[in-house]
């Protein structure tokens, strides 16, 4: 690509801050020569208020013990940075205040900041203006969060030997990134680390949606949990799994199925589990355990045994909730949503590419985002993509070793290479010369810098 001589002369400060600014958490930290997950901090991207009306900002939540009825204000809405009043409060608390966890002087720092694909242009402009006019970072690049994954050593995930230091700085040539996070799930094809915008597709289901659905089911069937989003997210993370055979599992968990039939249907273990609810007063975490149908358990729940010194234990029995909730990622039609599931979304994304690229994309699928950690998710995704893909295409699919921090790590690898970093950063001086309209075009790839 033609580049003017000017960028090479630019001088960037040594320090680079990378922020993967998610709706649920931001992943942030300073670039180091050989970055690892420990260099990346996961900070709640929210302002929270507990039932005692105390307000917690971002990282302060680490010290919060009582999450009962806690409410959140999130500056990132549906995956997009919408409210800068709240975001600035959290960022100041994280990066600017003297006692901040990642305190820095923006004027002597390069910033690599991520955004979700298909961000409305007005929000991008807001972001650029805040970065250069309010924080005054020395240099800045705004890129798609999925794109940064290309700078990690992807091939080793497929069991291919390390490429060697000479190609370390180069992004993977073809990469199809499936990012299933808090707000939504996206499919992004990358070529040499650059997104092919026209082929990016989004399924409007993410972890938040799944948590809310579980919350609704539990509120119908067990307790009113409508004000317990935080708790239900924990329940979801500990009990949910993606079924390999949905019909079979639904039959196995039908309340009318007799115990003997259940036994014969089940191969290895029962699906039904109990989730013991946390006791915030006693600082006790909630946890899952095998279902205990005995009377003792029921009595303990009723409080009949509380005289014996044991605390009253509250639990709920969960069965088909375990797999009907994450099933939505594969079958949004189960709730009447007129969108294809994640495997179909991958194929819709490919349809925006020349077919000659399909084999390389299908052979290099990387999965990131919190939902990929749900048990059974990867197996089901791989099975269904294989079924949909052209028979002659090899399908290789891998989950990042750290699916939450993978984009941040990619950004850190990029930043570790000064030449590569210089090629993407825009300095504050350039912004002042050319303005935010020009900046938007540079970051979208339509104008070479």
């Amino acid at each position: 690509m033609p580049r003017s001589a000017k960028p090479a002369e630019r001088v960037l400060p040594d320090q680079t801050l990378i922020i993967d600014n998610g709706a649920y958490t931001m992943k942030a930290g300073f670039a180091v020569p050989s970055p690892s997950s420990e260099d990346c901090h996961t900070i709640p991207n929210c302002i929270a208020r507990d039932r005692g009306r105390r307000v917690w900002i971002g990282a302060q939540l680490e010290k919060c013990n009582d999450f009962g009825e806690i409410t959140f204000r999130r500056p990132v809405e549906k995956g997009f940075l919408v409210n800068w009043e709240a975001e600035k409060t959290i960022w100041d608390n994280t990066f600017i205040d003297k006692a901040a966890k990642l305190a820095c002087d923006p004027g002597a720092t390069n910033l690599v900041l991520t955004e979700a694909p298909n961000t409305p242009a007005a929000l991008q402009k807001n972001c650029d203006e805040i970065i250069f006019e309010e924080y005054e970072f020395a240099s800045y690049s705004r890129c798609l969060s999925p794109s940064l994954n290309a700078y990690n050593d992807i091939q080793s995930l497929y069991g291919v030997p390390h490429r060697g230091p000479s190609v370390d700085a180069l992004p993977a040539e073809c990469l199809l990134v499936i990012d299933s996070g808090f707000s939504h799930s996206t499919v992004t094809p990358l070529f040499n680390g650059r997104p092919i915008h026209q082929a990016i597709r989004r399924l409007d289901i993410g972890g938040k949606f799944l948590t809310n659905y579980l919350k609704e089911l539990v509120s119908i069937r067990h307790y009113n949990m409508l004000d317990e989003t935080h708790l239900m997210n924990e329940v979801k993370e500990s009990i949910c799994y993606v079924s390999e055979d949905f019909k079979r599992d639904l039959e196995r968990t039908w309340k009318g199925t007799s115990a003997s039939r259940k036994k014969s249907l089940e191969g290895e273990r029962d699906i039904v589990v109990d989730y013991v609810l946390p006791d915030y007063n006693a600082h006790k975490q909630g946890f899952m355990r095998p279902h205990d149908p005995s009377l003792i358990a029921k009595m303990r729940k009723m409080g009949s045994l509380s005289g014996s010194g044991d605390a009253v234990e509250d639990y709920m029995t969960l069965a088909n909730e375990r797999f009907t909730v994450p099933e939505l990622l594969f079958s949004p039609g189960d709730l009447g949503m007129k969108q294809e599931g994640l495997p179909g979304t991958v194929l819709q994304s490919l349809s925006g590419l020349p077919p000659s690229l399909w084999p390389s994309m299908l052979a290099n699928i990387l999965v990131v985002g919190g939902n990929s950690k749900i048990e059974g998710f990867m197996t089901r995704l791989e099975t269904e993509i294989r079924q949909l893909a052209p028979a002659e295409c090899v399908v290789r699919i891998a989950r990042a070793s750290d699916p939450i921090k993978s984009p941040w790590l990619g950004g850190a690898h990029l930043a570790a290479n000064r030449t590569a970093l210089k090629a993407v950063q825009i300095t504050r001086q350039e912004y002042q010369e050319h303005g935010s309209g020009w900046l938007g075009k540079v970051f979208s790839g339509s104008v070479p810098r």
Partner: protein
Amino acid sequence: MPHVEVLPNSTSVRAPGYALVPDAGTFQAPAQQTSGKKRAARSLGLAGGDTTVRQQNAVLKHLAELDKDSHRDVQIPVPKDNAGRASKKTTLNVRRILMSQKTFANHLADEEAAIAQQHTGTSTATSRTKPIPNLKRASTSELQAIPGSGASQNAPRSVGGLPPSATRDPLDDDLLLKSYVPVAPSEEVMEALLSAPPLSYNAARTGPPPTGKPQRQFCEICGYWGTIKCMKCGARVCGLECKGAHDDGRCLKFYV
């Protein structure tokens, strides 16, 4: 047993132990007949069989509800000692952005309005600049032009007939890739692909699945197959026990 209908369903696993008979009488309920809106929806063939406009709206409302951060409106003001920090001079831009209380829905409406204006102004200018016809965001029918999911009309070449690559990459020796290495598109094609602008938020949303796949219906109480439909509100249940629970607490609640 009024207001109960057993539905023919491809996934139909009849609730064991029940033999419910469809009640033709209740199907003629006045509410079902008088609404002209609903009749119109039916004649338009909206969705499959038993979906009325009202039920579709209920589904949309439910989906929007599930996509919210909180089931009630949360107002958490920024703490005072943080809010007034901007001691140094702020630019007009910064002040405007920090004061903005626009939601994502507001921004989305703005984006859609801008797109609509563009279309009335310069008609097809944006699509004409696109170098490869296939790159245009495909319509729903075109999206199915993928081998395995339908006939391909717009794909420039079939995937099957690709010549082997002339240039060797060290990765070609990977056993998995050896069997099938396609020739990459020309540099011009790739550059055009990479510099094409992003889609709008709405245009990037994944489309519906190929038609013909019936929606699975579940009991709204216990989650088992919803083979029985409440004639009052259209909700699904699996059997009499759950129908009772539905009538007690939830009937008409979420569908009005």
